[in-house]
C-alpha cells in the first residue's frame, strides 16, 4: 500500500530574500512493508529531501501526501503519530536510562503531564523486546556504544507507533557488524509490523543487498526501483562507475581495479 506520495515536489531553502532550490520535479512513492533506501552523491539533497518528508522544513512546491493527506495540513501532534524519526547524530543526554528514553516515544499519546499508563508501559516493553535491547533497559544513555544508542532511538520510534519511520543515515557512525545488524533489524521491522521504512545511507553494497527498493538521487532526477531493476537499467553503473571502479550488474557488487 502506498503510504507516502511525492508529486512534482521541489525542495530547498527559502529565506526572506532568496530561494535556494536543491532538487525539483521529484515524483516517487513509498510502500508499507518495504525497506526503501535513499542513495546518491554528497550534496545532491538527500538530507533536504528527508527533512522535508519529516516536516522539519517546508517544501518549496509540489505536494507530499502522507496517508493520503497533504503534509502541510498536519499539526505537529497529528504528524507525530504518522512519522517517527531517527537522526544521524546522537542526542547529548546524561543521566537518562534507556527505558526512559524509549518512554519519550509515547509523548504524542500521553497527557499534559506525560504520565505513562499501563498500556503505554506494555508498548514500551514490547518495543524494547522487539529491538532486542532488554539487557540495556536500565543502562544510562551516555554509557552505550553508538550502535546500541542507534537501536535505542529505533526502539523510541517503535514506541511512537507510527506507520512510517524515516532515518537519516542511521548507520553512519557504526562499525561494520553494527551496520549490518541495524539494517537487518530495520528489514525485519518492515516485514513484522508492515511499516514503511525509509532511510538515507552511503553504505552502498550493504544497501543493494538488503533494500527492497532504492531511490537513487542524481542531478535533476530521481530513479526508483528494486536494486536489480536499477542495475539492469544502468542507472547504478552511471552512479558508481568511474576511473578504476566498475559495477557488476549481476552480482550487485562494486569492483575496484587493481
Amino acid at each position: 500500500m502506498e503510504t507516502v506520495t511525492l508529486m512534482n515536489l521541489s525542495i530547498g531553502y527559502k529565506t526572506k530574500h532568496s530561494v535556494k532550490e536543491v532538487a525539483k520535479n521529484i515524483n516517487a512513492s513509498l510502500k508499507s512493508g518495504l525497506l526503501t533506501c535513499l542513495i546518491g552523491p554528497n550534496g545532491i539533497g538527500k538530507s533536504t529531501l528527508l527533512k522535508t518528508l519529516c516536516a522539519f522544513q517546508p517544501k518549496l512546491d509540489g505536494e507530499v501526501y502522507i496517508d493520503g493527506k497533504s503534509i502541510s495540513s498536519y499539526t505537529d501532534k497529528e504528524f507525530s503519530k504518522k512519522v517517527g524519526v531517527v537522526l544521524t547524530h546522537r542526542p547529548q543526554i546524561q543521566n537518562m536510562t534507556v527505558e526512559e528514553l524509549v518512554s519519550l516515544g509515547r509523548s504524542p499519546y500521553t497527557g499534559f503531564w506525560g504520565k505513562l499508563e499501563d498500556e503505554d508501559r506494555q508498548i514500551i516493553n514490547a518495543a524494547i523486546k522487539q529491538i532486542g535491547i532488554e539487557s540495556l533497559k536500565d543502562r544510562m544513555i551516555q554509557t552505550l556504544s553508538d550502535g546500541e544508542r542507534q537501536k535505542v532511538m529505533i526502539a523510541k520510534a517503535i514506541a511512537q507507533q507510527t506507520p512510517i519511520i524515516c532515518l537519516d543515515e542511521p548507520t553512519a557512525f557504526l562499525d561494520f557488524p553494527s551496520k549490518i545488524e541495524t539494517m537487518q533489524l530495520l528489514k525485519r521491522l518492515c516485514k513484522e509490523s508492515n511499516k514503511t521504512i525509509f532511510l538515507s545511507t552511503h553504505d552502498l553494497e550493504l544497501t543493494l543487498q538488503i533494500a527492497d527498493r532504492i531511490w537513487l538521487m542524481q542531478k535533476g532526477s530521481i530513479f526508483v526501483g528494486t536494486p536489480k531493476e536499477l542495475a539492469e537499467s544502468g542507472e547504478l553503473s552511471a552512479f558508481i562507475e568511474r576511473e578504476g571502479i566498475t559495477f557488476d550488474k549481476s552480482l550487485l557488487r562494486v569492483i575496484i581495479k587493481r
Binding site: F56, S80, P91, N95, M96, L104, S107, Q142
Partner: protein
C-alpha cells in the same frame, strides 16, 4: 541508597534544619526557648521578637523562595540551551535588571536632584520596580529574537552580547555619577536576602509562591527538549512555543528575584548540576522539585554563613554563593568526566 522520593524528603528536612539555624544563629544570641515562644506568639521581649520576626524570619523566607526560583530558572535555561554553563544570567536578563537599577540609582541625582541612596524605603521600592522593568525589557527582546532565529546557539550568543552591551551602558552611567550613588549601586550588586522587609517582603514571597508552581507545567516540554529540537518536534512538541514559554517562566522568576535581592550568582548555575548528580536523573518530574528544594537549602546555607558571628551580616551573599557554588560545579563536572572516562 535512598530512592528519589526519600532524597526529596531529606532535602525538606535539611531546609527545616537550616531554617531553624537561621532563626537561632546571628550576631545577637537569643536562647532556643525564647525563639520558640516568640514563634508561637509571645511578644514579651520586644528586642528579641523584633530580631526574630522582622529580621531573621523574613530573611530566611526570602532566601528560601529566591533560592528555589533561581535554581529552577537555571535548570530550565540549561535544558533549553543544552548547555551546562547556562544560568539565569546567561540571556542578559539579570543584566537588564542591573541596567534598570543603574538608571534609577545613578541618574536620579543628576536628573531629579535627589540621591536615591538617601531615600530609604521609597528608594528600595523604586529599585525593585526599575529592576523588574529592566529585566522584563531585556526578556521581551530575547523572546522576540527567539521567535525569529532557529538555532539555540545563535540565541545564546545574542543573549551574551546583550549582557555585554548592558554592562557597557552601566559603565558609562557610573562614570557620570556621584561616588555615593555608585556605592549604592555596587552594594545592590553584591546581593542580599536582607534588603527587603515588611510589606515588600510579603509581596515578594507571595509573588514567588504563586509563580514557582508554574514551572511544573513545563515538565513534559522540558523532557522532550532534552532530545534536541528535531526529536522534540517529531514527538509532537511545538518547539518554538515551548521555548518561548520556558524563557518567559525562567525570565520572570529571575527578574523578580533580582529586583528584590540583587543579582545573586551561582545558585542558578550550581544547583541543577548538584541535583542531576544527586538524583542521577534528567527527568524534570524529579529535577524541578529537586532544584527548588536544593536551591532553597543552598540559599539558606549561604544566608547563614553570611550572618555568622564575626561577619555581622556584612558579608555579601554573592561572595558566599560563589565560595560554595564554584567548588560544587567544579567537583560535579570533574566527577562526571571521571565516570565517563571510566566507561
Amino acid at each position: 541508597m535512598f530512592k528519589r522520593g526519600g532524597k526529596l524528603i531529606i532535602l525538606v528536612v535539611l531546609i527545616l534544619i537550616l531554617l531553624i539555624l537561621n532563626l537561632l544563629l546571628g550576631s545577637v544570641k537569643i536562647p532556643v526557648n525564647d525563639t520558640l515562644s516568640i514563634l508561637f506568639g509571645d511578644r514579651s521581649n520586644e528586642i528579641f521578637s523584633n530580631i526574630i520576626l522582622k529580621s531573621r524570619l523574613p530573611q530566611a523566607l526570602v532566601a528560601i523562595v529566591a533560592g528555589a526560583g533561581l535554581a529552577v530558572s537555571g535548570l530550565q535555561m540549561q535544558t533549553i540551551f543544552r548547555n551546562p554553563l547556562a544560568g539565569p544570567s546567561v540571556l542578559g536578563i539579570s543584566n537588564g535588571a542591573s541596567l534598570g537599577v543603574a538608571m534609577v540609582v545613578l541618574m536620579s541625582s543628576s536628573l531629579a536632584g535627589v540621591s536615591l541612596s538617601r531615600m530609604g524605603y521609597v528608594g528600595d521600592a523604586a529599585i525593585s520596580v526599575a529592576a523588574i522593568i529592566g529585566s522584563l525589557a531585556v526578556m521581551a527582546l530575547i523572546v522576540y529574537i527567539a521567535r525569529k532565529v532557529k538555532g539555540n546557539v545563535t540565541l545564546l550568543i545574542i543573549g551574551v552580547m546583550i549582557g555585554y552591551l548592558v554592562t557597557a551602558i552601566v559603565g558609562v552611567l557610573k562614570f557620570f555619577s556621584s561616588e555615593e550613588d555608585v556605592k549604592a549601586y555596587v552594594v545592590w550588586g553584591l546581593g542580599s536576602f536582607a534588603r527587603v522587609s515588611g510589606d515588600q517582603m510579603l509581596l515578594f514571597v507571595t509573588m514567588m509562591i504563586l509563580l514557582l508552581p508554574l514551572s511544573f507545567l513545563l515538565v513534559k516540554s522540558l523532557n522532550l527538549m532534552l532530545l534536541g529540537d528535531d526529536y522534540a518536534k517529531n514527538l509532537g512538541l511545538n518547539v518554538s512555543r515551548a521555548r518561548t514559554l520556558v524563557i518567559l517562566n525562567s525570565g520572570v522568576l529571575v527578574a523578580i528575584v533580582t529586583a528584590y535581592c540583587g543579582p545573586i550568582m551561582f545558585i542558578g548555575l550550581a544547583v541543577p548540576h548538584l541535583c542531576r548528580a544527586l538524583f542521577k536523573s534528567s527527568d524534570h518530574k524529579v529535577l524541578v522539585p529537586a532544584t527548588m528544594l536544593a536551591g532553597a537549602a543552598l540559599a539558606l546555607l549561604c544566608s547563614l554563613v553570611a550572618r555568622m558571628p564575626g561577619f555581622e551580616g556584612a558579608l555579601p551573599v554573592n561572595s558566599v554563593t560563589a565560595l560554595i557554588g564554584a567548588p560544587i560545579i567544579a567537583s560535579v563536572i570533574f566527577r562526571r568526566r571521571k565516570e565517563n572516562d571510566g566507561e
